[in-house]
Amino acid sequence: MSGTPLQRLGRNASEWIEALGQVMAFAGAIASAIVRPPLRGRRLLREIYDAGVLSIALICGAGFAVGMVLGLQGYTTLVRFGAQESLGAVVGLVLIRELGPVVTGLLVIGRAGSATTAEIGAMVSTQQLDGLRMMSIDPLHFVVMPKALALLFVMPLLSSLFTVFGVFGGYVIGVQLVGLDGGSYMASLENAVDFRDDVLQSLVKATVFGALLGVISTYRGYRSPPHAAGVSRSTTSAVVTASVWLLLTDYLITAFWGV
């Protein structure tokens, strides 16, 4: 590229802003497709199956494992202050406010997000989307909208399942391994967790992450170059972009939730 480093920086910045605008326009198009009939219930169910049901084993397994690790780490830290009775609270709060939505989000990006980008990209390169256009069917409405909506819908459900399994994982460690009283684990957990501060924040984060993922993964697939190498590149970049935005939004929501 020509020009001084400053000129190039300026050009990159304006390209980035332009890309941002395109993504916003795409998101708007998806939103208007959602409210336009037909409902596409059949396809939506299939997408929820692909994005949600097929991720369950991964999410619940990961949730349980993370919960166990939190239980272990939490215990060894709290025991230094003689505060091991609060293990339930620590495990629960960390899972509900942060790890539930964030880890679930990253896992879903890797599994369902990349699959979505790859599938749409493959449809672009085999002219399936052009085929739909020639049949006067809007590919955004037929293909993109059900996939994006499914990701949005599935995220809070998966995040909650992750969290529940995580709490249980921490319980198993706390009670079986370390010998805490199960009742006080649950009691400290129930006392510490509040719906408005914690659970609602968790659900809002998960839903926002789902929306982000839905838009980014479908956008990358839709705009993918129509050949195998291009699809592969789009898929990788979708995972990276979605992950970065997820972590950024996580910080923003966390910071502004208390305000």
């Binding site: 299939r46 949600g52 609270a89 599935v154 399942l161 719906f195 501060d197």
Partner: protein, 152 residues
């Protein structure tokens, strides 16, 4: 597309499981039920609330009956704590509210002791008898200076 009837059923199960998880987190853990229907509010004034915070539990005989709704400073610069309590509670006018600690380094909560009078506290009324949070350094100070520790 394989058998869509079984697949739809599985999707339904998945959504149900997810919603149950959400519900569990919201009500059992989050204490969602103490908001909204059937709670009534009483107020207690303390000199020192210690580590008490919003949504700290309120207990009678160790059983949770409500939570702290609001903490503010009143005109006398004392802590004004509003409590959201289960609507079924009937507390006599001479009941007392004390701030206690669960365990040595545990969370603080408001412990209520019912009084003996016949007349009951109505919504919005104040507790006559309150006991502030005990702070360790004040206790030590009193011990050193030979004061007894007691209530107002």
């Amino acid at each position: 597309m394989q058998s869509s009837a079984t697949r739809d059923f599985i999707v339904g199960l998945f959504v149900l499981a997810g919603l149950l998880a959400v519900a569990y987190l919201s009500t059992v853990l989050g204490g969602l039920s103490y908001r909204g229907d059937g709670s009534f509010r009483l107020v207690a004034i303390f000199d020192d609330i210690g580590g008490l915070s919003q949504r700290s539990p309120v207990k009678i005989a160790g059983v949770k009956v409500g939570q702290v709704a609001e903490i503010a400073l009143d005109e006398d610069l004392r802590a004004r704590v509003a409590l959201d309590l289960d609507a079924r509670l009937e507390l006599p006018v001479d009941s007392s509210a004390a701030i206690r600690t669960a365990g040595l380094l545990g969370d603080q909560f408001v412990s209520l002791e019912p009084g003996a009078e016949d007349e009951l506290l109505a919504p919005g009324e104040f507790f006559t008898y309150t006991e502030s949070a005990l702070s360790l350094d004040k206790l030590v100070g009193r011990l050193v200076h030979g004061d007894a520790f007691g209530d107002e």
